[in-house]
């Protein structure tokens, strides 16, 4: 876990993250009691992910300008940045946020964005074909949602509504942001025989998209479907 010492250092860290999967930044303050627990949690994750993901801490009491530049107005606050897979512009992109000491959301985002197993052997490049990767992604146990954007930064109304609905039910899930990879975004529609996003899988089986989840919810069956 890197301790950010200045605005310039922060820019260097972002540059460094261009060579990894992404960057997780914990905005904290010495006077903030929950920040200690969040930091300990993220230090464990930093150890788990090693060189695959850069973890950094910004003390908002000392670096108010960095917090302001990132639009962070409360602590603890965890911001997630992803390094683009392809293209000349490798600048990390802000893709998700967790406001508050919500460890389940921190875990959801870290595991969803960078993979489990510390990010090793679970990236698209680790699979021989796109379909092999899709098999891995879709067959993971529990609830796996293929969405446009992330729960905290959805890029389409359906994704936002779906994530909110599942959150309200208290059902944990992991997600894959299909904007991460054009190849995944296009191929999964064919692989799943489902032409749109979001797509929701439970224990490896596609249960449908937003319409079906809304219908199941209206009939009071969504929670049992997701929990089965």
């Amino acid at each position: 876990m890197l301790k950010v010492s200045s605005k310039e250092h922060y820019a260097e860290i972002k540059k460094k993250a261009e060579g990894s999967l992404g960057l997780v930044v914990h905005f904290s303050a010495t006077w903030c009691e929950p920040c200690t627990a969040v930091n300990e949690h993220l230090i464990k994750q930093a150890t788990e992910y090693g060189d695959n993901v850069v973890f950094a801490e910004v003390d908002c009491g000392e670096l108010g300008d960095v917090c302001e530049a990132e639009g962070v107005e409360s602590v603890p606050f965890v911001a997630y940045f992803r390094t683009p897979l392809v293209g000349d512009d490798r600048r990390v992109e802000r893709v998700a946020d967790v406001a508050g000491a919500k460890f389940d959301q921190i875990d959801m985002n870290t595991h969803s964005l960078f993979g489990e197993k510390g990010g090793n052997g679970v990236q698209q490049k680790d699979f021989a074909t796109v379909d092999d990767y899709l098999h891995y992604l879709t067959k993971r146990p529990g609830v796996v949602m293929f969405i446009t954007g992330t729960p905290s930064r959805p890029r389409c109304g359906f994704t936002g509504r779906l994530c909110e609905l599942v959150h309200q039910l208290g059902v944990p899930f992991i997600y894959y942001d299909v904007m991460t990879s054009d190849a995944v975004c296009e191929r999964l529609k064919i692989y799943a025989n489902w032409p749109t996003y979001p797509q929701v899988y439970v224990d490896g089986e596609l249960i449908g998209g937003w319409d079906i989840c809304r219908e199941l919810s209206d009939e009071g069956e969504l929670k049992s479907t997701l929990k089965r």
């Binding site: 489902w194 749109t196 998209g209 319409d211 079906i212 219908e215």
Partner: protein, 79 residues
């Protein structure tokens, strides 16, 4: 060139002979449509398969983005 909405209507009518059919253009700009279908063709069919049956009618349009989003309600008539 028939409108997308009329194409949706005619394909659903041909495929499912619906007892009830309502096709709504939610947004022409965003190519979003809602369909509400009541048809005996859906009797005993799991929810996800019903949606697939409808989606499959518009596979090309959905893949090409001619139809960006298709909201589906597909139910058999009340028994």
């Amino acid at each position: 060139m028939p409108s997308i909405q009329s194409t949706i209507v005619s394909r659903i009518q041909e495929a499912f002979q619906p007892a009830e059919l309502e096709v709504t253009e939610v947004s022409a700009e965003d190519a979003k449509y809602n369909v509400r279908i009541v048809s005996a063709a859906f009797a005993g069919v799991p929810l996800i398969q019903r949606h697939r049956m409808v989606n499959d009618l518009f596979g090309e349009e959905l893949r090409s983005g001619t139809i960006h989003a298709l909201g589906i309600s597909a139910k058999p008539p009340p028994s």
